[in-house]
C-alpha cells in the first residue's frame, strides 16, 4: 500500500534521447493507474524509473513521503510483472513463487504458507511442482502474477502483462487482474498500448506520447473530454472521426454540414482568433435517422456514400468518405494517428444500430449529433470546445 508521487521527474538516456519529459503526478494509495500510449512513448521507461531499474535524470520519486531515488530496486519492495512474464525457467512454480520470499530471508514455514495462499488465490495449487515449460501461456501469466502478490509489496508494476496472450484469454485475465487488485487493494501501475485495456482497468489513465503525458483522467473524462487531438484519436475504438472545419461569422462550416455556435463557443473562438479548426466526431454520434432513438432536432442530416459495412452483431459500422479541399489536413496528421487521408478525402466511420438497413455502395442520409462534436485548434491540436456548446443550424 503506498502513495507514489513523481515530482518533476525526467529521464534522458546516455545517448541523449529524452525518454521522459518533466512529469509530475500522484498515484493514490490503492489506485489502479494505467499508463497508455503508442510504442516508444516512454511508458515502460516511466515504470522502470518507479521500480528502480532505470535511474531518473532529474526530479524526485516519493513513496509514502519517502524519497526512493537512490534505493536499490531490491529494497523498494515493489513487484513487477513483465510482458515476457520473466518466470525463472529452471525453477518449479513453487520455487518461482518462493524466490522473492527467499531473497527476503523469511522463515521457511512462512514461505510455504504464503506460496500456498498465493497459489490458491490464482488456482495454481496443482501446478506447484511443475516447471514453467509445461505450463500454458495463461498459467505462466498467473505464475508471474503470483510471484508479484506473494510478498505483499507496496505496489504492483505491470508492463504489458497481457499482450502475449490470445484475445479470449486476454479478456479473461483482464477481469481477473481487476478483481485481484480490488481484493488486495494494492497500488498498481499498469502499462499498456491497448486503449481498451486502459479504459476497462484503470481508475485513472495517463495518455503518453513522445515522453510527455498528454492527459490524466478517469476513462470517462478521457473519452468525453479529450484535451487534444492525440488523446481524442487514441482513446476509443473505432477511433474518432476528424473533419476539417472553418469558423466563419458565428458558424462552423464542416464538409458535411454547417453548425451555428452558441454564445459561449462563439466567445471562445473569437477570443482566440482561430479560423481553422478540426472537428472530432465519435462514430456513435453519427446515426441512421430512420433507426435512432435520439431527438433528431439535436443534429443535422447529411448524405454519405457508404462504401463498406461491418456488421458485428451488437453494432453496425458504416464507412464512408468525405471530400474536402481544406489545407488544414497538412497541419496535424501526426496527432490524428490512424486517420487516413489521401488527396483531400477523409475516411469516416459511423456506429449504427445493427437493425439499420444501410448497405454498401449506395447513398444514404446519415444524421450527425452536433451536441457531441469536439472542435480542435488546427494548429495546436488543443480541444477548444467541449461538446454541448454547439447547436443545430
Amino acid at each position: 500500500m503506498a502513495e507514489i508521487v513523481l515530482d518533476k521527474v525526467s529521464k534522458r538516456f546516455a545517448d541523449g534521447t529524452l525518454a521522459l519529459q518533466e512529469t509530475s503526478l500522484t498515484i493514490d494509495d490503492g489506485e489502479f493507474f494505467v499508463l497508455v500510449g503508442p510504442s516508444g512513448c516512454g511508458k515502460s521507461t516511466l515504470l522502470n524509473l518507479i521500480v528502480g531499474l532505470e535511474e531518473i535524470s532529474a526530479g524526485q520519486i516519493r513513496v509514502d513521503g519517502q524519497v526512493i531515488d537512490h534505493i536499490d530496486p531490491k529494497d523498494r519492495n515493489m513487484a513487477m510483472v513483465f510482458q515476457s512474464y520473466a518466470i525463472y525457467p529452471h525453477m518449479t512454480v513453487r520455487d518461482n513463487l518462493a524466490f522473492p520470499l527467499k531473497m527476503a530471508k523469511l522463515p521457511k514455514q512462512e514461505i510455504a504458507q504464503r506460496v500456498h495462499r498465493a497459489a490458491q488465490m490464482l488456482g495454481l495449487v496443482e501446478y506447484l511442482a511443475r516447471k514453467p515449460a509445461s505450463l500454458s501461456g495463461g498459467q505462466r501469466q498467473r505464475v508471474a502474477m503470483g510471484r508479484a502478490i506473494v510478498r505483499d509489496p507496496k505496489a504492483f508494476l505491470m508492463d504489458e502483462p497481457l499482450s502475449n496472450l490470445d484475445a479470449k484469454l486476454r479478456g479473461q485475465m483482464r477481469s481477473e487482474i481487476a478483481r485481484l487488485q480490488k481484493r488486495l487493494g494494492t497500488t498498481t501501475v499498469y502499462v499498456t498500448h491497448d486503449q481498451t485495456e486502459a479504459m476497462t482497468l484503470g481508475d485513472r489513465v495517463a495518455v503518453l506520447r513522445d515522453g510527455k503525458i498528454h492527459q490524466i483522467g478517469t476513462p470517462r473524462e478521457l473519452y468525453s473530454e479529450p484535451r487534444n487531438l492525440f488523446v481524442a484519436g487514441f482513446i476509443g475504438s473505432p477511433s474518432m472521426n476528424f473533419l476539417p472545419a472553418r469558423y466563419v461569422g458565428g458558424r462552423i462550416i464542416l464538409p458535411i454540414a454547417e453548425i451555428r455556435c452558441q454564445a459561449e463557443a462563439h466567445a471562445r473562438l473569437t477570443a482566440n482568433g482561430i479560423r481553422q479548426l478540426i472537428a472530432g466526431i465519435r462514430p456513435e454520434h453519427i446515426q441512421d435517422p430512420g433507426n435512432t432513438a435520439t431527438d433528431l432536432n439535436a443534429g443535422v442530416s447529411f448524405h454519405a456514400a457508404v462504401d463498406a459495412v461491418e456488421w458485428i452483431g451488437s453494432d453496425l459500422y458504416a464507412y464512408f468518405t468525405v471530400r474536402s479541399d481544406s489545407e488544414v489536413w497538412q497541419a496535424m496528421p501526426y496527432d490524428m494517428g490512424s486517420v487516413a487521408m489521401e488527396g483531400g478525402t477523409m475516411r469516416c466511420v459511423a456506429r449504427l444500430d445493427p437493425a439499420s438497413d444501410v448497405a454498401e455502395g449506395s447513398l444514404y442520409t446519415l444524421w450527425l449529433n452536433i451536441r457531441n462534436i469536439h472542435l480542435f485548434d488546427a494548429r495546436t491540436g488543443e480541444n477548444l470546445i467541449a461538446p454541448r456548446m454547439l447547436a443545430p443550424q
Binding site: 536499490d72 515493489m78 520473466a86 531473497m103
Partner: protein, 283 residues
C-alpha cells in the same frame, strides 16, 4: 530439407557414392588410432610382425605402464592441471562474459577483440620467453606453471562461448530477479548461472580437452614427474632396456590417454555442438 533428404537416399548410385565416401573418410581418420590399438595389444615378439590384427591378445604393455611410476604421476598431473585450469578458466570466463553481455562499458568491443587475438596467437612464439620467465620466477616444472598458460589460452574460447549463451537469456530475467529482491550477485548465482549450465559445460569440456592434449607447453615448461603431463611423458618413455624401443608401452599409454577424451566427446557431442553454434541462429 525434405527434398534434399530424398535425393540423398534416392538412387542406388548416389547412396553407394555417399556410403563409400563416408567409409573412406572414417577409415582415413581412424586407421592410425586402430593401428595403435592393435599395437597396444601385441606382445614384444609380435610387435614387428606387420599384422594388422594381433595374433594373440596380450595385456603385457598395459601392465608395463601401470607399473611405471612415471606414467601414473603423469596421469595425476594431467588430471590435476586439466581440472584446475578448467575450473579457473570457466569461472573467470563466466564473470567476464556476463559483464560483456549485460554491462555497457567503454572498451567492451576491445575486450572481445583482445580475447579473440589471444586465441589466434601462436603459442610457440611465447615459449622461449616463458621458459626463461618461469625459471627465474620458480614456476618452471610446477602445476601452476602449466595452469597459467592453459587458462590464458582457453579463456578467449570460453568467454566467446559463454557470452553467446548469456546473450540468449532474456534480460527481463535479470530485471525480475533484481525487483524480486536479489542483489546483482544473487541474480547471477540463482538465476543466470543455473540457466547457463549447458554453456558452462561446453566450455569446460573444450578447455579440459585443450589442456589434456597440449604437448607444447608440457614439454617446454616441465622437466620431471612433478608436473609433466601425459602427452609429454609419452615422449620420454623408455623401454625396459636402453636398447629397446618402448613402442608397445607408448601405444598402450596412447590408448589410455585417448579414451577419456573420446568418451567425453561421444557422450557430450550434442552439448558441444549446441554450445559452439548457439547464438548463430535464433532459437
Amino acid at each position: 530439407m525434405v527434398s534434399g533428404a530424398r535425393t540423398l537416399t534416392g538412387s542406388l548410385l548416389q547412396r553407394s557414392f555417399w556410403g563409400f565416401g563416408s567409409v573412406v573418410a572414417v577409415a582415413y581418420a581412424l586407421l592410425p588410432m586402430i593401428w595403435i590399438l592393435s599395437l597396444s595389444f601385441k606382445d614384444k615378439r609380435s610387435l614387428t610382425d606387420n599384422r594388422f590384427i594381433p595374433s594373440s591378445i596380450s595385456l603385457e604393455n598395459y601392465r608395463a605402464i601401470a607399473d611405471d611410476p612415471q606414467f601414473s604421476a603423469a596421469i595425476i598431473n594431467s588430471l590435476g592441471i586439466g581440472l584446475i585450469s578448467t575450473l579457473l578458466a570457466v569461472v573467470l570466463a563466466m564473470f567476464a562474459a556476463y559483464a560483456i553481455v549485460r554491462l555497457d562499458f567503454p572498451g567492451k568491443r576491445l575486450v572481445l577483440l583482445g580475447a579473440l587475438s589471444i586465441a589466434m596467437f601462436p603459442p610457440i612464439a611465447i615459449i622461449g620467453p616463458l621458459f626463461n620467465l618461469w625459471r627465474i620466477s620458480g614456476l618452471f616444472d610446477t602445476w601452476l606453471g602449466l595452469i597459467i598458460p592453459y587458462m590464458t589460452f582457453t579463456l578467449p574460447l570460453a568467454i566467446w562461448t559463454l557470452s553467446a549463451f548469456f546473450r540468449e537469456l532474456p534480460w527481463e530475467l535479470d530485471k525480475a530477479a533484481r525487483v524480486d529482491g536479489a542483489t546483482p550477485f544473487q541474480t547471477f548465482r540463482y538465476v543466470i548461472a543455473p540457466l547457463a549450465i549447458p554453456g558452462v559445460f561446453t566450455s569446460a569440456i573444450l578447455v579440459f580437452i585443450f589442456s589434456w592434449n597440449d604437448f607444447l607447453f608440457a614439454t617446454a615448461l616441465t622437466s620431471t614427474d612433478d608436473a609433466r603431463t601425459v602427452p609429454a611423458a609419452l615422449a620420454f618413455f623408455t623401454g625396459s632396456s636402453r636398447f629397446e624401443q618402448p613402442t608397445g608401452s607408448i601405444a598402450a599409454a596412447s590408448v589410455v590417454v585417448s579414451l577419456p577424451i573420446a568418451l567425453m566427446v561421444l557422450l557430450f557431442q550434442r552439448r558441444i555442438i549446441a554450445g559452439l553454434t548457439s547464438g548463430a541462429v535464433k532459437g
